[in-house]
Symmetry: C2
Subunit: 316 residues, 2 copies
């Protein structure tokens, strides 16, 4: 569920544009006004604001914001103003061009989205970059990571709830054999994780635990330094419980020496309207402090105000 | 271009349903009437007929046709009544369950369609079979064929006309090196063929010929018995000129001892409204006989009448 809060009745897009335009004028910028408008409008309304702004002032709102804002606050607002699909396309493109095995953004976009959201992101990627996401991932990754990531971003997974129990059993066995033989990059492991529906994979992971005693991710922890294993675990966590996975991304971003603003901004702007309520609850439970307080402590200024507006108060 | 011919003004879907219903009644079936209606209506109108038939007579038109018709004529009419995406889904499902390396239907569906048509077929596949096409292809194929076919059906290719000339050059070189080393199943070969846009691949194949003297498909003919090579050549032909590829499928289907009705029906029903006019021209040029005459000579009865109605007269 979303953590966004809106005024009782939304102003018209034209009125919102007027406020934004006012915020940009004169000496300095009225960041508070920008936040009070943009952080409290749902996606469809933000799209209307962007359209109206271009119509009324003859300038792309993103360009105007880019001129007025700076640093982390700028990045957060720009990502936020984009459509979800465009935002994912931009994030994926940034990361694919300087991809390294430790980067998890592609996994988030490929797995923590619905099949249709991933597809929309791929269309937006093509519209914006004149290439496909899959060809860029294929061209910029290598070895086992490529074998895993290309199908991960390519597959259009089935999303129904139908589960084939005997298939879950046989594929759980297959996964166990390969993991036991340390054959982690085996093509059957990759095939199962990248093509099966999430419901089917949940059944397979449950069966794995029932048949062989350990959760599959425990068996994939045999070598903590192996980056490929850690990617497999991230994928499995994103499949089984994306909110829990994203809570951890935020936790690590905040607990890092010097906050990882990139990850914090990404998760908050991409999930505020999706499942931030659940992520907040999980965060509170796991860290004995609310996400609101943690973000407040770790960030400053307009950036802080903006993120807090998106995640909402503790009791929201 | 389409070879379908329509009456000056189309009857209403309800009127068409009445004709069809009449054709089904009494002793025997009026196949001529069925052909005169269904073979001369565009896809959107056929969809309306199907909807209206269910509404008026409380029965799926496909079921009614299934009861009345038999053999090759039945199969052709049933495929024809389906939406293009549904038809591809049904064809893909039939073939994936009994896949063998010699079968080219998946290649046709993955490559001789636009990216959006392939995606629509994948959605229709999920709606109908409660699984994804990619997971079925991955589960029912193996070895090098799987490495090639899974990304082939998974990728959402970019379809713009932008071409990166230096990339074409470097990837032509890469393809040449692998082919020269008989490393046909190399992951770079598969990556290039399955992820790059068709415009980019055309540039790459042109560059290949310019740099190394032979068309790429000539260099892939080193071992005529190697089935994997023959699949690669089929993919490349489908990319460079799908009409020419499909002309060959029809030619082989007709020239076979005992016509291959499966292939003939498939290509005619899937292409009649797309590029059958070009396929007919290519067929005439290549075989010194028109496709109309060839089909007339090789088929009989209602099946013959139906196919001829779809491909149109020689001068159409």
């Amino acid at each position: 569920m979303s953590t966004l809060t809106f005024p009782g009745s939304l102003p018209s897009p034209a009125d919102d544009c007027e406020q934004l335009h006012k915020a940009f004028q004169g000496w300095g910028t009225n960041e508070g006004l920008i936040i009070s408008v943009l952080a409290h409008r749902p996606a469809a309304h933000r799209r209307e604001i962007r359209r109206a702004y271009a119509e009324i002032y003859g300038e792309d709102l993103l360009k105007a914001l880019d001129k007025e804002l700076t640093r982390d606050f700028e990045r957060a607002v720009l990502l936020w103003v984009l459509d979800a699909a465009e935002r994912d396309a931009v994030l994926a493109n940034e990361v694919v061009r300087k991809w390294s095995p430790g980067n998890r953004v592609l996994i988030e976009i490929a797995v923590a989205r619905t099949a249709d959201e991933l597809f929309a992101a791929k269309r937006a990627y093509q519209a914006r970059f004149k290439r496909s996401l899959e060809e860029d991932v294929a061209a910029h990754t290598n070895g086992d990571f490529r074998k895993l990531l290309v199908p991960l971003v390519s597959s259009y997974r089935y999303e129904g709830s139908e589960v084939n129990a005997s298939l879950a059993k046989s594929e759980a066995k297959m996964l166990h054999e390969k993991i036991k033989g340390k054959d982690y990059n085996h093509e059957e492991v990759i095939r199962i994780l990248t093509t099966r529906s999430k419901a089917q994979l949940l059944a397979t992971f449950n069966d794995y635990k029932n048949q062989f005693g350990n959760p599959i991710n425990k068996d994939l922890k045999s070598d903590p330094k192996n980056e490929f294993l850690s990617v497999l675990r991230a994928i499995i966590r994103c499949i089984t419980c994306p909110e829990r996975y994203l809570e951890k991304v935020i936790r690590l971003a905040i607990n890092k020496m010097g906050t990882d603003e990139g990850s914090l901004t990404r998760v908050i702007t991409t999930r505020a309207e999706v499942d931030m309520k659940q992520i907040k609850e999980l965060y509170h439970k796991r860290n004995s402090v609310t996400l609101y307080r943690a973000v407040k402590k770790d960030t400053t200024g307009d950036y802080e105000d903006f993120l807090l507006a998106l995640i909402g108060h503790d009791d929201a």
